[in-house]
């Protein structure tokens, strides 16, 4: 027999999980923000005397083949990755959501046009487009973000549209219309507040994937330009001498995995919470 657990307890558990994981994510973001203060050395200072030193008290994660402190570079890389991901998710979320809501609310020609364009971009394989665009724009973090952003907004647009459609015919929207509110006012004060939670939840679940994309491009040499620290490019640089200094690969790898897992887990937890709240 399955144990029967009341909805209230499920909700409570789901909420507690979100708080714990959320706190860990906030901690990670704080580490990224205060990376400069936390790192024991300058992440970009090279030294011919300290090449590929194993982890020690002075250099807890060891040094790479330029004699740079790996810990400091992992910390600096946290800033790069989290900043780039936040910018990309935020910008594509806003663009996609605005288009999706306009499309869902106004319908008609606007809807057809916007959705056709969305489907066009949805029809392209994202990483293929990203690699080609980043490669042709010639590398750099900005180019990588543009390359990933070209297709990333489509998912948000589709979801925003479907949620808008589901609240559009509610009575309070009709009431707002009768009260003489304009379209943009209804969107801002009625549709947005009622759809924002599921839309933000969806955006949270995309953070992990976005990080994988950014670090993948950097790994290929199409993201950040060295010597700027980023985990993907650090792993790529140091994999050439992995048998001499495995720590130079393993620590950025560990940082990547932990960060992506944490944000993916946050996405899952918020999604579960939403399901639990809806069951009510």
């Amino acid at each position: 027999m399955k144990k029967v657990i009341s909805n209230k307890i499920i909700r409570k558990r789901a909420r507690r999980r979100v708080y714990v994981i959320g706190a860990l994510c906030v901690l990670l973001v704080l580490i990224a923000i205060f990376a400069k203060q936390l790192s024991p050395h300058d992440p970009n200072v090279t030294s011919a005397l300290l090449i590929r030193r194993p982890p020690s008290k002075e250099y807890p994660f060891g040094t790479d083949s330029y004699g740079r402190c790996v810990l400091s570079r992992v910390l600096a890389g946290a800033g790069t990755t989290i900043f780039a991901t936040t910018v990309l998710v935020a910008v594509t979320f806003v663009i996609g959501t605005v288009l999706g809501i306009i499309s869902g609310y106004y319908g008609g020609l606007a809807d057809t046009l916007i959705m056709r364009v969305t489907e066009l971009f949805l029809a392209f394989p994202q990483m293929v487009v990203a690699i080609a665009v980043a490669g042709i724009l010639g590398g750099g973090l900005k180019a990588a973000l543009i390359a990933l952003g070209v297709t990333a907004w489509t998912g948000y647009a589709k979801i925003a549209r479907s949620h808008t459609l589901s609240v559009k015919n509610e009575n309070y929207i009709a009431a707002a219309k009768l009260a003489g509110l304009r379209g943009w006012q209804i969107i801002c004060f009625h549709i947005l507040p009622n759809t924002l939670f599921p839309l933000v939840t969806n955006a949270l679940t995309q953070i992990g994937t976005t990080m994988i994309g950014i670090s993948g491009l950097s790994f290929l040499g199409l993201g950040v330009i060295p010597p700027q620290a980023e985990w993907g490019s650090m792993i790529n640089e140091s994999r050439a001498y992995i048998q001499l200094a495995p720590w130079a690969v393993l620590y950025p790898a560990l940082a990547t995995v932990i960060t992506i897992m944490l944000f993916n887990y946050l996405g899952d937890a918020v999604m579960d919470l939403r399901k639990a709240e809806r069951r009510n």
Partner: protein
């Protein structure tokens, strides 16, 4: 059904047009003058006169749309222009690599499906059991690790520490092993999660309770009703993952020096040989569209109701 197929084929035309336009635009997005880049890629000393002559030879003095249509009609006949670097046709270069990439992609797709289908079925049937929990954690982890990281770690363990596999993947079977695993792990993680959710949602349907109430054996319910109904969605999920696979193979082929289309495109990016990159986007895009169409048609065949609603 026939009407639906025709409708879908027609809807492919604007998509293909936009795809080709986008691919063509890529070349113009590249900073700098194409003629100059072509000459630089060939190592020719550039003077103003040489560049001007090359521009005319490449047809760059013609307007953008004229060039686009000339290129498009070429592409329809299988001519994607020539490489900046060595003057060989782009199409031939891409086709040379495509076979090896398909080897890699198909092997990892098959491996992922072979693992994820039985696992997800057991997970869904025995929800919250030990098996389910273990594989939920594993699939979550697999889904969270970028494939370049998996391949670097696998390489470190198996090629450098244990020396079981060659570092540079040759044509041998053992060379295929690590690249396939690196591509398959994240995909298997994703498949298990999505398949499991799909099977569970089918198990919770009212008709399943109804069939059970009539005393039909559980295995029959599972295979004849639940899995059959889930199959369409599972094929769609697998079809969509081809896009990720295409991007992933660029990374994996670069790491393992596997001479497929992905390594070719990375080498071309490094050499600023942009027509090859352009051809790559076009071919991958067309393949992705065709695979999408095929999975849609399978879906409709399996579940004719969708034809009416769509």
């Amino acid at each position: 059904m026939k009407k639906y197929v025709i409708k879908r084929l027609i809807s492919l035309i604007p998509l293909l047009l936009i795809l080709s336009f986008f691919s063509f635009l890529l070349l113009d997005m590249a900073p700098g003058d194409p003629a100059e880049k072509k000459l630089a890629a060939q190592g020719v000393a550039v003077t103003k006169e040489v560049i001007e002559a090359e521009r005319i030879r490449m047809g760059l003095d013609r307007p953008f749309l004229t060039r686009y249509f000339a290129w498009l009609f070429g592409a329809l006949r299988g001519d994607l222009g020539v490489s900046y670097k060595d003057g060989f046709p782009v199409m031939g270069k891409l086709m040379d690599g495509l076979g090896k990439t398909c080897q890699l992609a198909v092997s990892s797709l098959v491996l992922s499906l072979l693992v994820s289908i039985p696992v997800s079925v057991i997970c869904a049937v025995r929800q919250d059991s030990l098996f389910d929990n273990v594989f939920r954690i594993l699939s979550f982890a697999g889904n969270s690790v970028p494939n370049f990281l998996i391949s670097v770690l696998l390489m470190f363990v198996f090629c450098i520490r244990m020396k079981i596999f060659p570092v540079i993947a040759g044509d041998s079977f053992s060379g295929l092993f690590l690249p396939v695993i690196s591509l398959a792990i994240p995909m298997t993680g994703r498949f298990i999660r999505q398949f499991r959710a799909e099977i569970i949602s089918q198990l919770e349907q009212d008709f399943v309770t109804g069939i059970r109430a009539r005393g039909v054996r559980e295995t029959v319910v599972l295979f004849r009703n639940v899995l059959y109904n889930a199959l369409g969605h599972m094929i769609t999920i697998a079809g969509l993952s081809i896009g990720t696979l295409m991007g992933g193979s660029v990374v994996i082929e670069t790491i393992f020096r596997w001479s497929g289309i992905g390594k070719l495109v990375m080498d071309s990016i490094t050499a600023r040989d942009y027509p090859v990159v352009q051809g790559f986007v076009l071919i991958m895009g067309v393949m992705y569209l065709v695979i999408g169409l095929v999975t849609d048609l399978i879906f409709v065949t399996l579940d004719p109701r969708t034809e009416i609603t769509s």
